[in-house]
Symmetry: D2
Subunit: 297 residues, 4 copies
């Protein structure tokens, strides 16, 4: 299966880096963004900006979308029938956005009905990794479509994790991944608070974890923020974190999976929202442990 | 402050490696172990085995103890007055054992009264790191004593973390560290179970964590065990894990620190004990999440 | 405000008793039920059975609905425009069903737009109380409408609790009430299990509660079932209990209210469903505490 | 088995009422209290005050103790050998105090060794019930001793619950009973907070529970306090409530019984203590739910 053309929709902070990496070594990349000025840098590097989202797409081609949420993706795909019509037959839509498993399932069925392949490929990493081409891709969908886009995905990532044939599974994996981050924030918050109340500096405890057996991006990065109670500006807003945990708990409910730490995070995040912290970084859920113990943050 | 002599008590699987590393570059090391045959290897390398624990010690010297629990340490220190008498004046006792903060405090006061310095120096790492001299040391006690033993500790570890002047603080830090491990086991258990119930293999989820932003000894090691439900043989027995969590919760209660994840782990470990899993590895607490969700392990 | 006519829709086990009590002292009661045979007993007592739900209704009249769930109520109200058209202007719809606050809000707005009053009046009590006219009514909606139907509600209940002007508030109160029942089941389960593991019979512990300071319908009734692990046949099916707790948690999320016991019940109920207990009485959530402690039920 | 004489030790607010009821119909009651002035009222009614605790006791007699805690009871029983010597042989010691199961067990063994019967008989009820003779007694110990003291216990209580032959079981039952009270406080706190955040007055929700299916002393009494956030003065101080929950969790740990609501209460009470609420009524644990939801109390 060879790819005749490549399109990219959604040039936010993540999309810019990803599209730039796709552009290198592609004969042609057509790009679209709602506010047109964001296409400038890519055009200077050789991309072609189009006027309508559907125009980035053509039969047998591949279109990548990197949009902010379910609603934005739905708008691109469903608002005009042109999008799916122009992809068919044989086109592939690679959705890089973090969307709900339900939307992924609905997308998948809709594309199938039109003879188009839908791949769900949410990524792990922030804009710096997107620019460096060192994201992690969580890929799921039909095998032949995955094989076809692999060379493209390799340009934007350091590693591709394959979650099978059903597109929404990679979205579930992404939610479960984020669940682990939120849980790491909470456990650090609890253990730093315990240390602090006994006369051990929070930073010392963070160091003990992140420079020994927990040495990893999450424990180093969030460990530092939680130790210093540095939640502003937000890397990932708490309201968005809550949205992900809420979606995950919904999946858990549908699959009858009790998740006591998930439940705890639910209550921590709701409390943070009740206290007006929705726009802080989601690691601000760590304030709960400090407040429970009556330690000033 | 120079060190006139060095003694070592407790040649279990950890002590063997540590004493061997101390021996390299020490003019003389006197060693003691309750069952004498464990001294053989060290004697072959040049150590001197003594008949009584007190005999490893002399005034102004340093004695290391690496014993299995509070009771074993108390027996060495309190059963014969010779131990403290022979260390005084000016000797230093470095306790490498994982003991309770209360015992550390009692040891500290007792040594102080006799003009001897007590340092609490529990370590992170298993026998392979002890043998390789790449342990992590959590050190606390009087500064001049810490300075005096630093050259020795550097031979056995890759890094020393200083927890201040009060010896028991390093024991509290060790408990808080283990709390993080147990919590990581539980959160992996929950997220792997969620994945599994939705058709994603546990191993796949473990990989996604341990080969991306959670890449660390704990997530790789325990991630693999929890994914495969491989809890036998035990690296660290569940009953010992429960002892540590119990001690930590006691410290939490004394310092009025609510710890909801600590409470959850308490219930998970008690349930595992009720189900006869006390001799399995403590990562067997992960079975709780599977059973709650009615997934066969 | 005087009432010109009274209609009743929904003659299940609750509706039969309620309608019978309304009939006493009403000049005329028109009744409707999907399966017509359930109207027989009421017709024998003087009620008039009609062919279509809308026919029980007339302008300025009062219609009571007692339906199994949101969907059944929506079907009656929304499927045919006749229902609302025949009530207007000035009619009153008293919804006795346990429906979601969202549906109650939607109903309220829809009725308002048509000049009809919607009252939400979920009840507490089982069929025996419905027959005896000793239900408790949780009433909410516009004051003048509440005043108008009070004489009717007094015939079916021993007490009316007024939750104000907004109809959905009585539905929220009902969910919060059921939350208390589920929590009482869980706390009894935990304390009976603790007793049992220490050699005190569960029944003994149930007696100690329900015959001293907890003497009440809930502790006597559920206490006995939980003590004997008697969950079949179901008085209230676990899947329905889960629906209520789920709705309550949704309200909690929308109002940013953390509810740790609510979260615990969520996990207990999901676990029970995972174990195939959805058709048992919802007090079967008590099995969780026994299983955690490895006590055979 | 007939009783030759009756003694009473401990004339606090509970002891006064109980001793007064015992005095009615007893030929002679010897009383002792550490501060002598508290014996006056009883002496005026015919009791004999003695100078030393041991003097209330004589062989074959029955002595009741109603002391504030384990330490006070231990002091009376263990500080002077006279206490047990004067009871032997054949005497009975009825301990009405709320003590730990461990102390009850130790007492039982000590009395057994001296040929004296120890009965554990903690009571439910506050001073008003003690004065009215309407307490509930949780009785455990040897059958013949229980039979012998039953006529006396009937004078002070409306009901005796028999927990078998092992004295400490009634202490465990008392702890499990108090656990239910604390849990009822928490669940009311959560549901009142949910109501409040949705515009339903807390008092309204309290009424809905305590005047329908939860109508009982606990829900009426604590419901009112929690609804009004009225925690001062304390009926039962929070630090004492914490002591009971702590003892219960210890029993739970020893019997490998996970208790998630127990764990939650642990964290709520520790948080309340951290916030300086130890001297308030233990229903002040309800403030946690309000603070989590950011609702002013």
């Amino acid at each position: 299966m060879s790819i005749s053309s490549v399109g990219f929709i959604g040039l936010g902070s993540m999309g810019q880096g990803i599209a730039t990496n796709l552009l290198k070594g592609t004969s042609q990349l057509r790009v679209y963004n709602r506010s047109k000025e964001k296409t400038r840098s890519l055009v200077e590097q050789g991309a072609v900006a189009v006027e309508d989202a559907s125009d980035v797409v053509e039969p047998g081609g591949v279109v990548f979308t990197m949009l902010s949420d379910d609603a934005a993706l739905r708008s691109v795909v469903f608002d005009s029938v042109n999008f799916i019509k122009r992809l068919a037959p044989g086109g592939i839509h690679v959705s890089l956005s973090t969307i709900s498993p339900d939307t992924a399932r609905e997308m998948s069925e809709y594309h199938d009905r039109h003879g188009v392949r839908f791949l769900s490929a949410p990524v792990i990493g922030r804009p710096d990794r997107a620019a460096a081409g060192t994201l992690f891709v969580l890929l799921a969908g039909r095998s032949e479509a995955k094989a076809a886009v692999s060379p493209l995905l390799e340009r934007i990532s350091q590693r591709i994790f394959d979650f099978g044939e059903e597109p929404w599974l990679s979205n579930i994996a992404k939610l479960a991944f984020n669940f682990n981050i939120a849980a790491a924030i909470e456990i650090m918050a609890e253990s730093f608070t315990l240390a602090e109340k006994n006369g051990i500096p929070r930073q010392k405890m963070a160091e003990l974890l992140s420079e020994t057996l927990f040495s990893s991006v999450v424990y180093r990065g969030y460990g530092d923020h939680v130790a210093r109670h540095a939640y502003d500006p937000a890397g990932f807003r708490l309201v968005l974190g809550w949205k992900d945990i809420r979606l995950m708990l919904q999946i858990a409910a549908e699959s009858a999976t009790p998740l006591p730490i998930g439940s705890l995070l639910r209550d921590r995040l709701l409390s943070a929202i009740a206290k007006g912290r929705g726009e802080l970084d989601w690691s601000a859920l760590a304030l709960g442990a400090s407040e429970d113990a009556n330690v000033p943050a």
